[in-house]
């Protein structure tokens, strides 16, 4: 059974990569926003570009994965193709993990491109032993968050609209736009509840020479993954009761 599930998870992710993610709309959704956003900050203060890189990577991770999940899950639920996957010897959890893995891989491609591009352009040398686990955990977190919102709503636009609330809350409160220490206490508290805050913190460690550890950030991110993936599985199971 486990072998069946593993095979299907892989096949579903591989198929999604081919048919959806490598298409222009998905790519632009995942990449246009982070780049536009970074450009805006760059134009405001061109000298601080280095400071922006962890934020840019974090945005790429957030937007590429969540946009992708809405496409693969919502569209497929509407077209009935998701149902077809369940006819195969695979559990509902397996189908969902396949979808999340697809979002993860798509985000990974986008993130790798953005990271390599900026690092090469301005000669940054991040600590890869920190960057890779933090980015990978974050990709899983936001891919499963996208999945949770996608199984929760019937229409693509609904899922995208409702995703925008936490997405923009996170963009503004993750410490990239304003330093968290400069926020009023209630906002500081909220920012601690948002996964992107830990992504940014971890990525900053990877890009600084400072000898701090991203261990706590990684543990919190792993916790968020669990927090999103299990309710998403439950919701999907409920749809097939």
């Amino acid at each position: 059974m486990v072998r069946d599930d593993l095979r299907c998870i892989y096949e579903i992710a591989a198929k999604d990569m081919r048919t959806y993610y490598l298409k222009p709309p998905a790519i632009s959704w995942g990449i246009v926003f982070p780049v536009a956003w970074t450009l805006a900050f760059y134009l405001r203060s061109p000298g601080d570009f280095e400071e922006l890189v962890p934020g840019l990577i974090a945005m790429t991770i957030l937007f590429s994965t969540t946009a992708a999940e809405a496409v693969v899950i919502n569209f497929e639920m509407r077209l009935g193709t998701l149902e077809r996957l369940l006819l195969a010897p695979v559990s509902i959890g397996g189908v969902l993990l396949g979808k999340v893995l697809g979002g993860f891989l798509f985000g990974l491609l986008m993130t790798a491109a953005v990271t390599a591009g900026t690092a090469l352009a301005i000669g940054l040398r991040p600590d890869l032993t920190i960057l890779i686990p933090v980015a990978a955990l974050s990709l899983l977190v936001f891919s499963s968050m996208g999945a949770l919102f996608s199984v929760g709503f019937k229409e693509v636009f609904e899922a995208q609209t409702f995703l925008n609330l936490p997405r923009f809350l996170m963009v503004f409160l993750c410490g990239v736009v304003y330093p968290i220490s400069a926020m009023p206490a209630p906002l500081q508290f909220i920012s601690q509840l948002l996964p992107l805050t830990y992504t940014v913190e971890g990525l900053r460690v990877a890009f600084s020479a400072a000898p701090s550890s991203p261990l706590l950030d990684s543990i919190v991110l792993a916790g968020f993954f669990v927090l999103f993936i299990f309710p998403a599985m439950r919701l999907l199971r409920k749809r097939f009761e």
């Binding site: 299907c8 096949e11 048919t19 009935g80 097939f240």
Partner: protein, 320 residues
């Protein structure tokens, strides 16, 4: 071993009971038809049997595995053709089949071979590299059936295989289903076309409002209708306004209005029916033109068993 044993299957959606205490069995190698008007619970029954929906009550054994303890192990032996053709529009015919084969774990070498074989058998080989989205309805339906066969199942579920197809496409699909039957596949198909059930099925389960009202071979079903008698009467005048009166005169029979001047009387003692027909035509001054005794069709059997008018079966769901 039976291919399927269904015991007291029930499905409720809120206050609506879509399937109620349904039981039947399917022998290995037979074609069983679930026949009933739209909304009678055919799709819901199939969805429960293939693990897409959980029964509210009851259980079933499919290929020796109980639904309640998880149908996972049985899935390898089951092929399903859902009521809509839901393959990936953006994948080619061939890629769709290959993808399904991969999901079922068909080994690589076998996969390619089987895909090609099916594409040829279903007459789609020339179009193998075209996207599914560009296919006609009939071709889509064919490929959806092919996709259900890539892993060489023993048991095939077909939900309304020919709905929405033109006559030619429907006929060729029925021939295909007959072929599969002759190759030993066990088939469960749903339909609301009486002649389709008659032609294809070894046995028929008639469902009305989620309940089983009859289970038998098409022949026995017809014979049970024959016991009554089927009499068709043609009048000179219009009868439609008076058919209720004839029904009242013949409490043991069912009166069906065929058109303005023709009535069909199912069941009842023939002598009695003829007497009443004469009395009826006199009292309304209709003039009896012709009286024929007919062999009952499956439609007649359906009407006398369910009490439903044949027009109910002709109602299609919205297009797909």
């Amino acid at each position: 071993m039976k291919a399927i044993e269904v015991r007291g299957l029930t499905k409720r959606f809120g206050s609506l009971t879509a399937v109620e205490d349904v039981s039947f069995e399917v022998e290995e190698g037979e074609v069983l038809g679930l026949l009933g008007p739209n909304g009678s619970g055919k799709t819901t029954t199939i969805r429960m049997l293939v693990g897409l929906s959980r029964p509210s009550e009851g259980d079933a054994r499919v290929l020796g595995f109980d639904l309640s303890s998880g149908i996972h192990k049985a899935k390898r032996g089951i092929g399903v053709v859902p009521d809509s053709s839901n393959l990936y529009e953006e994948l080619s015919a061939r890629d769709n089949l290959l993808f399904m084969a991969k999901l079922y774990g068909v080994p690589k070498g076998v996969r390619e071979e089987r895909t090609e074989e099916l594409l040829r058998a279903f007459g789609l080989f020339e179009r193998r590299n075209d996207r599914f989205g560009t296919f006609s309805r009939g071709m889509k339906r064919s490929l959806t059936i092919a996709a259900a066969l890539v892993h060489d199942p023993k048991l095939l579920f077909l939900d309304e295989p020919t709905v929405g197809l033109d006559v030619v496409a429907a006929r060729s699909l029925r021939d295909l289903i007959s072929d599969l039957h002759h190759r030993g596949l066990t088939i469960v198909l749903t339909t609301h076309y009486l002649e389709e059930a008659d032609r294809l099925c070894d046995r028929i389960v008639i469902l009305v409002k989620g309940r089983v009202v009859a289970v038998d071979t098409p022949r026995e079903l017809k014979r049970s209708a024959e016991e009554g008698s089927v009499i068709e009467a043609t009048f000179r005048g219009a009868t439609s306004d008076h058919s209720a009166d004839l029904s009242a005169r013949l409490p043991g029979s069912k009166v069906v209005v065929l058109d303005g001047t023709r009535l069909k009387i199912l069941g009842g003692d023939p002598t009695r029916v003829l007497e009443e027909l004469v009395g009826f035509s006199r009292s309304h001054d209709l003039g009896l033109e012709a009286v024929n005794s007919m062999r009952p069709s499956l439609e007649d059997a359906f009407v006398s068993i369910t009490g439903l008018s044949p027009a109910v079966m002709a109602k299609e769901k919205g297009g797909r």
